[in-house]
Point group: C3
Chain length 312, copies 3
Amino acid sequence: MEHFLDLDDIPNIDQLINEAINLKKAPYAFEQLGKHKTIGLLFFNSSLRTRLSTQKAAQNLGMKTMVLNVSSDSWGLEFEDGAVMNTNKAEHVREAAAVISQYVDIMAIRAFPTLCDKEKDEQEQVLKSFQKYASVPILNMESATGHPLQALADAITITELKQKQKPKVVLSWAPHPKALPHAVPNSFAKMMQRLDVDFVITHPKGYELNPEVTKDIPITYDQEKALKDADFVYVKNWSSYKNYGEVESIDEKWMMNSAKLGNAKFMHCLPVRRNVIVTDEVLNSNQSVVIEQANNRTYAAQVVLKNILESL
Amino acid sequence: MEHFLDLDDIPNIDQLINEAINLKKAPYAFEQLGKHKTIGLLFFNSSLRTRLSTQKAAQNLGMKTMVLNVSSDSWGLEFEDGAVMNTNKAEHVREAAAVISQYVDIMAIRAFPTLCDKEKDEQEQVLKSFQKYASVPILNMESATGHPLQALADAITITELKQKQKPKVVLSWAPHPKALPHAVPNSFAKMMQRLDVDFVITHPKGYELNPEVTKDIPITYDQEKALKDADFVYVKNWSSYKNYGEVESIDEKWMMNSAKLGNAKFMHCLPVRRNVIVTDEVLNSNQSVVIEQANNRTYAAQVVLKNILESL
Amino acid sequence: MEHFLDLDDIPNIDQLINEAINLKKAPYAFEQLGKHKTIGLLFFNSSLRTRLSTQKAAQNLGMKTMVLNVSSDSWGLEFEDGAVMNTNKAEHVREAAAVISQYVDIMAIRAFPTLCDKEKDEQEQVLKSFQKYASVPILNMESATGHPLQALADAITITELKQKQKPKVVLSWAPHPKALPHAVPNSFAKMMQRLDVDFVITHPKGYELNPEVTKDIPITYDQEKALKDADFVYVKNWSSYKNYGEVESIDEKWMMNSAKLGNAKFMHCLPVRRNVIVTDEVLNSNQSVVIEQANNRTYAAQVVLKNILESL
């Protein structure tokens, strides 16, 4: 694996999931692999799970870690080609990416979307600029349009917990007070298209995701119908894609609860707003697998780092 | 030792102090103990000594360290049960504590009091919430009402430096421009009740500490009388406990100086405001042991981590 | 090497450069040297290259690293002797330096100048205060008046790339929207006085550097004349030294471009403002060696740390 920018960088998803499950059983089995290797974690945004699980994954493989909170630790970065840099941005990504490449063996980047400039977000300006100018592999720790490490952790979780060969998986929109990115639902939808699952998306009218992502996934505005006989229900808010970054409605009826959930497992990428996205009752029940999803973030990151290290 | 939340978690104080003094002589004697173990340090507040000495202690034991500045690196945390989370707090401590438990083997937490809400502070809402929802041992790096690692370092310092079997120790209030917590004086007072010392507290009227902490410790408003024949004088500001969090007075007469100190050793947990809490003359003299107290923070943390690791 | 505060701490510059070039070929050759040794990196200001390259250098030598963003992680520091500390500064450097010395084996400090108070800046109040009160070696990661690690990296770069025994090196001032420190040009000018180079400085009238630094280095206001037959051109902005910290002019004519550069190598310490300091054309060409300069920051730091460790 050369880079891990998107799920397309995974050639064989079933094999990678099995490899991750094996790493979970023996986390230190490859701790010689990362000897004298360093990962640099660059954060343009807040992070809890990603920050800690990626460090943990790297350390399990024997790597050194260096964390950079780009905005507060370092310099404002310019991403436009040809810019006359007389504003508050002191360094261009061309130099930053090339320079950091010399201090680390793998560069991990978290950069959320603007949710204002659809074109820039869809071009993945930050992630792709680093990829373009770096000379080391890039690991996507959530970008403008995707969160592939989360989707990989979700796939591991479903694989571990499924009770039938082809479970029914539902992605159900939920209300939220703020405008949120599409990265998690995008990557989850893409991942479900690669697993042997019966997958459906449900959301209020106006919350259609990018059709290039959802392709021919069944979409319904009828949450009740979508949830029928579900085995896994992934609940997540996202803002409008059409009216880019807008909060169209915060209809509380879409909040998940025990009655709607039935016997399904409840999934969420976290952080989750209790009693807005989902009731306490669901989160506190045995049906919630959110903590296990977060646990699998370590092994998702570790299996990806292992594959990148093996290709160096 | 399962957790280290309070001094009550120390079954045998003399034994722990001796073990710490032995670690100080041979800091790397147990560096195999922490192999493949990680400590996560969560800071809700500023820290210099605690931040560095706890990392150092963990590294001396062969542990990996991960530091999280909760507010700036991560998400605003909700601590109320049943909250409808539609404000600026994106994650509940129930999830945060359970998730982080999967990335670390020991979780260390610094969370100062509100100094506004006495009930929440006395309930140790932050620390106890993490303990409740975490599945790994919790290390208190200063909480709303206690700073047991500081008190342990103080006890090590007194044990190392005392010239007589039962020294006289005085805790003397000092003026300060801001309202400060009770954590340090609380833990010091509790610790002194467990050592073989002659202990007295002196402060202006109105600055009585929580009587459940001070119990039958002699308290006097007469600083001169308290300081007579003292061997160790611990000087510290704290705000009013009765008029919770209020600054009742900042009477400069209570500042410590060489004349008042006599031949006693001067102690303070640091940071210390020079010429407000104590004169330059005292701090620059050989009677000041504040630097040695800070040095012992490493071995206080290390002995506690060692005991927790041994119980895993 | 006891401390590394300034270039004067290097007894034999050619020997150190050669040692650095050897470390670059075998970065892990001395990884036993730093065993059980810790470096503390204290940042009062932003940093990218210094932050990462110094950590990397320390890790290459087997050291542990601890990073402290002084202002945000810790307490406001007081540097004045005799201060009555009733303002917003909670800790004096006397305590901070002495305390941190107990947790680390080497203390690295970045502290930019005020650019307001020439006297304090020239006294190197922050760096020298830490040196005065610390009990461990101090590493200058850029101070008010000098950036010796950068100059050492620059000297390594020139030594590696020079095509003739005594190359012509030009330091050429460039426009910039903000007032910048003199640390980089000062250290570069000092370093060039110690290398076997033909060195000249060019800048607009009013931008004379401290004459105690430039001594008898030829200075000309005629950029074209200075650049004639240059082998290396180091471009850098600095604010006025005479009208201390003032931006006298931002004459765009002084921006470097390909025509002016001729066949010389282009050097800059980074971060660099594209199309303000220098054109894209130059930076994107093979004549730019700024990325290699940044790469050599690792080996500059590593050779200095190696020499300090060997003297412990």
